[in-house]
Amino acid sequence: MKKHNDLLSYLIPALVIGFSLGARFSGFELGEKLLSNLGQYLKTLLLLLPPVFILIGLFEVWVPRKTIDKHFGSSHGIGAWFWLMLLASTIVGGLYVSLPIAYTLYQKGTRLRLVYGFLGFSTICRIPMTFFEASFLGLRFTLIRYAIALPLVIISAILIERFTGE
C-alpha cells in the first residue's frame, strides 16, 4: 500500500471518531447515534474477522490443492457454481469477509470466473440477509430478486474473466 493511502486510512477514522465525540459532548443527537453505530461496526469486525482468518488458515493447510483443482479448476462442471453459491450463502458480514475467502479459493487454483461468481453470490444470497429481506419486504420480492440476480451474476462473472484474462 502506498504512503498517502496509509495516511488516509488513519485520517478518516480519526475524523469520524473526532466528529462523533465532538457531537456527543456538544449534545448533538446525531453524534450519539454515530458513536453507537461506529461501536457496533467495530464490534462486528473484531468479533468476526479473527475466526474468519483462522478458518481460512485451516482451509489453506488442510484442503489439498488437487481437490480444489479437480472441482473448481478449469474443468469444473455446472455443479461448481452451485457449491460456491452454497458456500457464499453461509457468509456472515460483507465483502470484508468474502474477499479474503475468495482470494484463498483463487490461490488454491479455483478458476477466476468461479471466484468472481463466489464474490457475487456472497453479496446477493447470504442466508441471514435473505431472511431479513423476506420478512421485511416479502418472500415474493426475495424470490424475484434471486431469480434475476443469480443468472446475471454467473454471466457477469464469465464476462469479467473474459475481459481481464486469466
Binding site: 474477499l99 464474490l119 446477493i124 419486504l137 469479467i160 475481459f163 481481464t164
Partner: protein
Amino acid sequence: MNDHSNWLGLLLALGIGSMVFVPGFIAYPLAAVLLENGVPYYIIAGFTTSLMLVGFASLPVEITYFGKRVAILRNITGLVISLVIAIAIGFIYGEF
C-alpha cells in the same frame, strides 16, 4: 421519492446504495419504513440490491485483492444488475 420522480428516484437509490455501507439488519427495516411511506418497490429494490452488490466504500480493499480492473468491472456490473432487478421488480409489481 414519490411516483412523479421515477427515474431520478431510481438513480438516486442506486447511487446512495452504491456509496454507503449499511449492514442488512439496518437496511431492511429502513426499506420497510420507506415502503410504508409510499416509496415504490422498484426503488427499494434498486437501493437494497446496489447496497449489497456494489460497494464503492470497499473498493480500495477489493483492489488490493483482485486489482483495479477486476474490482471496477465487478462494481460496474453489480450496478447494472441492480438496475435490471429494479426495473424487473417495477414491472412485476405493476409500478411502471
